[in-house]
Structures are given as structure tokens and as C-alpha cells.
Symmetry: C2
Subunit: 359 residues, 2 copies
DNA sequence: TTGTATGCGTTATCAT
DNA sequence: ATGATAACGCATACAA
């Protein structure tokens, strides 16, 4: 056989119809005689014909492509987001083109430009910085896009984010309810608004119980840095009875360091992590963690994007997705619930998780 | 501004040159006067022009697209592979389109067909089954492709796989050297050749020391199934002194079950896992594990694919990438090295890791 | 060095 | 219900 690809013409001649008819049958368009439609389909499958997307897109102007740009393809959170998005889009015939910015402003700009050359129907981006300066590149082309996970409150774009603040408030409540008031909030960096929100949620809950804000510690992005910063902090301060770690990586780093210095969880210290992954179930003890609803995050993003793809003119919308505290074995009760404002120590101001916007 | 996209003609008229010249300048083709080139580039950036890929591909016949199909986008191993591949291809201007087959034969076929409509320059696929019946779909279009990670030995295609057999042989040696001879090899399923290879490596090493093959146990794909199968097996058999778990998920499942029944690693049982992830470093104890070189896997795949993209006619090649045993704290010494064939118990038949093909 | 003309494979329009 | 034809935006061969 020749190296030439089978085109619509090959199918047409085999089915003894015109190219237009083949196109119509394949797209399920206009009414075609059952006989003709069968011949076309038979010819198409016999020849292994698949329409060329470049030609199709060029002519129709419709791309059926969604591009997704994340800081890092390896991070299980982003990988999960992409997987969930793929599930949404694939059902409607959209393909996904992925890119990663390596958490670098310049790379992000370049990758964005490259992805834009596809003339995608829509774009999903988890920006490197949550003020997302590179959005100018997309705005210029007037393409529909949704900012996912990292979106500064004042960002005038469609956005979908987890309810970070409410989630950590609930986690803090869980800790306080188990008698912990000496808590260290361990963060990766405060550069990201969603990380700041996570800390703010803890502060909220402490304030609600008449307590001053707990301390926080930035530990950076490698196991080594975490160990070093933790060691310094622990040498200079009284050991907290509980840790709240605001990312999966920080959770691993803190756990690793505690193990190294011979501290046992939850005997010597309790711990709640932000983000929930299967290993936390396997760990000893199993880790109590805040689960982000990745599926819901993706579904809402897709819904928002679809709306924007259909009707461009509507005010930007911001969706906040509730998280869920998964209670396992890494928090130990060390005393009665802590609540300075309540006479009855058993009172628990457990706010039901709400999807209220907080912009 | 209009909703129309800026095309090459807009740039041409603004720069007062022909479309052909714009094309040539943008592609860095034929010599152009510095003056003209500058005008073109100025116009292009002023207008925010990015060439339409559909049109470009249709005309040139060159796509600069690699499609990647994996069973599951969520699995950190596949996610890591995609990330590494993206690093390779992006450097040369190729974009990646991803798809997942959900480990289903029919879905795989459909997704493959969808990806093929892009007329990609190359395809990387981690098939659902390692005999990859769906490759007929690709063969029919004569597109270059490489099978990654799961490739039956007799598969007559380019393939890149980890040296599963050598890796587990080394792990088994490590266990035997620490006095363990009652080992249970815990597998997900034996349907996949690479899983069978992992078991075979252990058998190799046992045979090399004059020992009969150790038992193995298939535990399936959920935590619940793992717990159930493990419970049944442990009730019926003497408890092994060590476990060798052949996938990340199985490692988590076994660890979780051991924790639940109150067995401590490595005090009550030692453990080596196949696949190494950051959480294993954070776990207590840190888990000794076999690390697959994901970067190398991806690089070799890309190299093979490039070769195939350039020169179609050469016999299929199979590359085997060595793994590495990362020794941490989950294996305890319980006695002298076990080696029935050696008079000196200290002898260790440690074969240097080799990239030899074993097809 | 630059411009003109052509065609890639498909879908949309219009004619039949 | 089906066919003929044009056009999408670009890259290329060739003319100038």
C-alpha cells in the first residue's frame, strides 16, 4: 500500500458517492438514505478512514481542543485535575493538549503562546502566580479561559478554587476539639494566595474561640529544606502538640523530619495534612487529611468554560468548591475541647461546609 | 477590535510585504533583508500574530504533535512519564496530546482513533494489554509509534521497558542477604507480562541460590481486596518474614493491611516495594524500594520515536532500562545471608545492572 | 531577495 | 437526498 493517508475522497470513491456526502454521514448531519449511509460507513471502516483534524478545523473554524497549562505535570494534584478534566471533555469530543510552565513566569508565557497557536476552544490554566500577569496573552486573543486552583480574589476572570479557608478552619476546629492549642501551621510559601487563605482559615477558627493566631513556618520545597527549617524552629520554640501542613509535599516533609528526630505521630505530636492521597491511608498512623474534591473542581471548571465558550458576554464568575476533612488516626486527644469564649467546653461551632464565595 | 483572528495576511499588509515573506521570516527560512525581517516581526508582535497550526499542518504535512495514550492519567507512574516526555518533546517544538484508555480495550481503541485524527508525527502508548491488539489501528496508518512500559517480549514493535526482572532479582538478593528466605511476592495481577517478569526475577535469584520459588499472591486493585486476600492468605500460611510488593498500589495496600492487623515494619515483617515515590521517604519506617528511571524511560522512548520518525525502515528495537534499588529502613536483618549453593555465606552474586535485552 | 500562484483535506453553500 | 464547487490559512515551488 502507498504511504498516502486515506482521505475523504478515497472513501467517497469507494462508496460511489461525493465527498460532501461522506462528510455529512460521518458528522451525522443531513438526512442520508440508509443505503448510502451504510455504504459510506462500510467504506470508511474498510479503509480505516479518520477525518484529518487540521483540515476539519481549518474549514469549520471549530477546534474541539482544550488546552491545559499547569505548573507541573508531576504533582499528583495537577495530574488528578488533568485526568478529571479529560473525563469531562472527552465525553464531548474535545481533546486535551497539556503544557507545564515549570513554575516559571517566562516559560509560562512561552507555553501559553504555543498552546494558543492551536486556536483552542477553551483554556484551563493553573497559573504560576495567582495574579496571573500572563493572562494578557489570552485576553488579547479573546479566547475563553478559566483560572483553576490559583486565583487571586481580585482576578477579573472566571475562576474555580477550593474553599481553602473554610477547610483549614474545620481542621483547626478538629484539632482544638481534641485539646490542641499549641499548633504550628507549616506552609510551603506564602507567595500563593491560596496558601495564605489556608493559614487564614486557622486564624479564623482560633479567633472564633478567643485565641490568638497560632505560629506559622515557611519550609520551602525540598525535603532537605523542610528538615533544616523544622530543626531550627523546634530548637528555638516549645514543641507544638499538633502540626497542620498545608500541602502534600509539606506533609511528607514534616512526617519525614519527625521520623528522623524520633518523634512519633500521634503520640508525640498530632498532624493534619492538606490534600489527601492514597498513601495517607497506608501510612502508620493513617493520616487525617483535608481532601479537595478534584472531580468537582474539574467539572465546575468545565461547566464554566462551556458557558464562556457559548456566550462570551457575561460577568466573570468565581466558584468555590468545599473540601472535606477525612478523619483518620494522626490526631490524638490530649484534653477537653479548647474554647475560651464558651462556658460549655463541649460546644463545637462546626459550620456546615459552604460554597459561599469569599471574593 | 474585531473578533476575527489575525492571519498571515494582516501581518503582511501591515509590514507591506507578501504573505510568503511573512511565512519565510517567521519560519526563519530564506534570507530576508534585515529591514524587511524587522518590519515583519514588528507587525507580527504588534498584532499578536501566531500562525494557525491547523493551516500550517494541513499545508506542510508536518504536524509537530506527539500523542500519548496511557491506561490512567492519575497513576503517578504514568503522570511522571508524561511529564518527562513533555520535557523531551517541548524542547523540539512538539506538543503533546494526551488520552487515557481507562484500562479498557474498547476505550483504548476509540481513544487511539481519536488521537490518530491529529495525524501525529509520533505516538507513545502504554497499552492496556501488553500484547496490544489495538496496534493494528496504528499500523494501518503507518505512523511511527513506541510501546512504553508494557510490551510483551514477542511484540514486533519498538518498545521501551524497565528491566523488571533484573530489578526484582536484585531486591530478592537484598532480602536473602539479610537472612530472609520466607518471602511473599504480592502482585496486583499476573495478566501483565511486566508483572510476571517481576516475579520471575525473584525466582531467578532464589534459583541462583539453590532455593525453590517463593509463593506469590494476587491481591487485585482496591485496598479492600488487598486486605481481604491478605487476611485469607495469612490465616492459611505461616507468616513470611518479608514482603515484596510489585506495584506502588500493592505496596500501599499491604502496608495498610499490616498496620490494621497490628504488624510493624520492619520489626514483624520486612518489605521492599516496586516503584519509588516521595511518600516512601516520609513513611515510618522509610520504605526500601525499586526505583524506575522515569526520565530515562521517557528519553529513550523519545529517541526511538525520533529515529522512527526520520527513517521508517529499520527492524523494531527493544530497549531495556535498568532500575535501582533504593535502600531505606523497611528491611531488617534477621540472620546471615541465605545461599544454599555457596560455602561462604558472605558470597553475594550481585550482577551489575545491565541493559541487556531479554526477549 | 521578494512576490505570485497553487493546493493541502475538509466543510459550507448552493445547485440539482 | 446528493453532488459540484469554493474557501479556510498557510507553506512551498517557481517566477520575477
Amino acid at each position: 500500500m502507498s504511504g498516502r493517508r486515506t482521505t475523504i475522497k478515497d472513501v467517497a470513491s469507494r462508496a460511489r458517492v461525493s465527498a460532501a456526502t461522506v462528510s455529512n454521514v460521518m458528522l451525522g448531519r443531513r438526512g442520508a438514505t440508509a443505503d448510502v449511509a451504510d455504504r459510506v460507513r462500510e467504506a470508511a471502516s474498510a479503509l480505516g478512514y479518520v477525518a484529518d483534524r487540521s483540515a476539519s478545523q481549518l474549514r469549520s473554524g471549530k477546534t474541539k481542543v482544550i488546552t491545559v497549562l499547569v505548573p507541573n505535570l508531576t504533582d499528583p494534584f495537577f495530574a488528578g485535575l488533568i485526568a478529571a478534566l479529560e473525563r469531562c471533555t472527552q465525553a464531548e469530543g474535545f481533546d486535551i493538549i497539556v503544557g507545564s510552565s515549570n513554575a516559571d513566569e517566562e516559560v509560562e508565557r512561552q507555553r501559553l503562546a504555543a498552546l494558543l497557536s492551536w486556536r483552542p476552544s477553551g483554556i484551563v490554566v493553573v497559573p504560576h502566580r495567582d495574579d496571573f500577569p500572563n493572562r494578557a496573552v489570552i485576553d488579547h486573543l479573546r479566547l475563553p479561559y478559566v483560572v483553576l486552583d490559583r486565583a487571586a480574589p481580585e482576578l477579573p476572570t472566571d475562576a474555580v478554587v477550593a474553599d481553602n479557608r473554610e477547610a483549614t478552619a474545620e481542621a483547626a476546629a478538629h484539632l482544638l476539639d481534641h485539646g490542641h492549642r499549641d499548633i504550628l501551621v507549616v506552609t510551603s510559601t506564602f507567595r500563593l494566595g491560596n496558601i495564605r487563605e489556608r493559614f487564614a482559615g486557622v486564624v479564623d477558627q482560633f479567633a472564633a474561640r478567643g485565641l490568638p493566631p497560632p505560629p506559622s513556618l515557611e519550609v520551602g520545597l525540598t525535603f532537605e529544606m523542610v528538615a533544616e527549617r523544622m530543626a531550627v524552629w523546634l530548637a528555638a520554640n516549645k514543641r507544638p502538640t499538633a502540626f497542620l501542613t498545608v500541602t502534600n509535599f509539606v506533609t511528607m516533609g514534616v512526617l519525614s523530619h519527625l521520623g528522623q528526630i524520633g518523634l512519633s505521630v500521634p503520640r508525640d505530636a498530632s498532624l493534619i495534612g492538606f490534600d489527601d492521597y492514597p498513601w495517607m491511608r497506608a501510612a502508620t498512623p493513617a493520616i487525617t487529611a483535608i481532601r479537595q474534591d478534584v472531580t468537582s473542581l474539574a467539572e465546575q471548571t468545565w461547566a464554566l468554560l462551556r458557558r464562556r465558550m457559548e456566550a462570551a458576554a457575561s460577568p466573570p464568575q468565581r466558584l468555590t468548591i468545599p473540601c472535606q476533612l477525612v478523619v483518620r488516626d494522626s490526631v490524638r486527644r490530649i484534653g477537653p475541647p479548647v474554647d475560651l469564649l464558651s462556658s460549655a467546653p463541649s460546644r463545637r461551632p462546626r459550620r456546615a461546609s459552604a460554597a459561599a464565595s469569599r471574593s
